[in-house]
């Protein structure tokens, strides 16, 4: 039984979006619009006022980097950049769309959405401290989780997990060294 997980595959909604935006990806039931950073605020205002996407869900970023200090690097090389993703929804049909844009790694900066969606305030503060992205015109761009004297942006791929450096996670061993027979987990 395959389930549709988001209702963003409702065809009329996709059609109405396609008429306005050219770069739309619909993979795994997740609708994603890619836009230029210069259009960021206008697009959001348009989506809110014309497409009825009044419900602000979340905003965050992804650090695309080939050389990583934690985890696995991407399989295919990528051009290093930040991808900023904002998730909007509307509250009648439950349509959902992710809006994505790219900003460069040197002095990353983008306009703040606080004037359009008040809820983006804390999400932007989180992205600011975790990735070091500057949100222009933000009313109070300060750290939200981390203590005042904290240096660095923990969610960057170049930021090491100190405890992991000191003592490697045994979880890797579990997965790699799993015996062929015996452990029936994963099989029904």
């Amino acid at each position: 039984m395959r389930n549709k997980l988001n209702q963003s595959d409702s065809q009329s909604f996709i059609d109405s979006l396609s008429s306005k935006f050219t770069n739309i990806v619909n993979e795994f039931d997740t609708l994603k619009i890619n836009i230029e950073p210069s259009q960021w605020t206008e697009t959001m205002a348009e989506l809110k006022n014309e497409f009825g996407l009044t419900y602000f869900s979340w905003l965050s970023a992804i650090d695309w980097e080939n050389e990583v200090a934690v985890g696995d690097p991407p399989k295919e090389p990528v051009s290093p950049h930040f991808e900023i993703i904002c998730c909007l929804s509307e509250s009648i049909e439950g349509n959902l769309v992710l809006v994505s844009t790219k900003v460069e790694k040197e002095n990353p900066s983008i306009d703040s959405l606080v004037s359009i969606y008040a809820g983006s305030n804390w999400h932007e503060r989180e992205a600011y401290e975790m990735f070091g992205i500057d949100f222009a015109n933000h009313p109070n761009l300060t750290k939200i989780y981390l203590p005042d004297g904290y240096e660095g942006n923990p969610m960057l791929k170049s930021f090491e997990l100190i405890s992991r450096e000191v003592k490697p996670w045994p979880g890797d061993v579990d997965v790699e060294g799993m015996p062929e027979e015996g452990n029936k987990e994963g099989e029904s």
Partner: protein
């Protein structure tokens, strides 16, 4: 400026009035991180003028555990143990969106029986979470009795969850492709080997009757109390626009009159097979938020009773590879957690673990409304409003 005094222009002594505003300095009141009603370690720096609040600045991070970073060095099956601990009051409900997002990326079909078991346990987690809210909220308003009754009722539901999963708070029961086999804690029947424990259906029916009784008792004991009504009605009104702007979700959004419940909007679990109502409030005040949750408990009990009557048979898991590797792709799945919209954006680059995992937790967005909502309120109302948002600090800080 005319400095001469003209006696004709002077007001008569009876018309004279004195208006002197005494300027007082606002007092900074630190509420938390250790305080009886901040649900853990939330800290509010409030500027108060007597009992009146002029501004509030929440300070977060006392429980920030960096789950998003940790997820990058964990494999997919390991992450389910992490997400259990985000909102520990309803641990089971946290697993569903992550598992569903991963299954989506791997394009796995989950057996119907596993989906039904997931649904039943999610609704049980919802009942347990709302019982905690009901008891704790009454305690914050000042009534001392309901919390004891709520905990007793909740314990019955947790016992049921424990009998299936083996854990009260952190079940870690979901596997990619289904649920954990050999789950039953009690002796298994011949029919359902390695499945739900024997007598689970009968026990559930009894407990659900008790839950419904408990909900009725709460409606009388708490909702029927005039003091509770004057404390909560027309207090902390969240309008529709304000709620959507801040991304407030779940019962709080529904109390503001928005009929937005992901259980009916998305198909992450087979809710469309069951008949249930989505309660919606009118005013968006504290009383509505309390009442919406109360009615939701009834509806959840209804769903569970229907689900155990129509439980399909079949396997608990589909075949998945031993070492789980998720193909490249991005998927965002959100579910209706007891506290609101809980979503996981999984970005996979084809490795053993996600390249990036964005966790959207309901409480974080829900309490981001606090500074605007609390401005100009009285100090006792701060507690009433904060309590009605029903947040868990693990859910706020992740």
């Amino acid at each position: 400026m005319d400095t001469t005094i003209n006696p004709n222009n002077m007001p008569h002594i009876s018309e004279a009035s004195v208006s002197v505003e005494i300027e007082t300095e606002d007092m900074t009141l630190n509420i938390g991180p250790q305080h009886p009603s901040t649900h853990g370690v939330l800290r509010l720096v409030a500027k108060v003028d007597g009992e009146k609040i002029s501004s509030v600045e929440p300070v977060l991070g006392y429980m920030h555990r960096g789950y998003e970073k940790l997820a990058e060095v964990r494999t997919y099956p390991q992450i389910t143990t992490l997400v259990n601990r985000i909102d520990w009051v309803s641990g089971f409900a946290n697993e569903i969106p992550f598992i569903a997002a991963t299954e989506k990326l791997m394009e796995i079909d989950v057996p119907e029986r596993a989906q039904h078991i997931r649904l039943i346990l999610t609704e049980m987690a919802r009942i347990a979470s709302h019982f905690v809210f009901n008891g704790a909220y009454a305690l914050e308003i000042g009534a001392l009795t309901p919390i004891f009754l709520a905990m007793e009722d909740r314990e019955r539901v947790l016992d049921l969850i424990e009998s299936v999963t083996g854990g009260r708070f952190h079940p870690n029961f979901n596997r990619i492709g289904g649920v954990k086999p050999a789950a039953g804690a009690g002796p298994t029947t011949k029919k359902d080997i390695q499945d739900l424990p024997a007598g689970f259906y009968e026990e559930t029916k009894i407990v659900m009757e008790k839950v419904l009784e408990g909900v009725d008792r709460f409606e009388n004991l708490v909702g029927g109390n005039e003091v509770f009504r004057v404390r909560t009605k027309n207090v902390g009104i969240i309008t529709k626009e304000m709620a959507e702007d801040y991304g407030v979700s779940g019962p709080i959004l529904r109390a503001s009159g928005v009929k937005f419940d992901l259980r009916s909007h998305t198909d992450f679990l087979p809710y469309d097979k069951f008949d249930f109502e989505i309660p919606v409030g009118e005013n968006g005040d504290c009383y509505d938020r309390w009442y919406v949750r109360l009615v939701e408990m009834r509806e959840s009990a209804k769903i569970i009773l229907q689900a155990i009557d129509s439980m399909p048979s079949g396997p608990l898991q589909t075949k998945v590879p031993k070492v789980i590797k998720v193909p490249k792709g991005q998927s965002y799945v959100r579910t209706e957690n007891p506290k609101g919209e809980m979503g996981f954006h999984v970005i996979s680059e084809g490795g053993l673990g996600p390249y990036r995992l964005k966790i959207r937790t309901p409480s974080f967005s829900n309490i981001s409304i606090l500074p605007e909502l609390l401005e100009g309120q009285l100090l006792p109302d701060l507690i009433a409003i904060m309590g009605s948002l029903d947040f868990v600090l693990g859910d706020v800080d992740r």
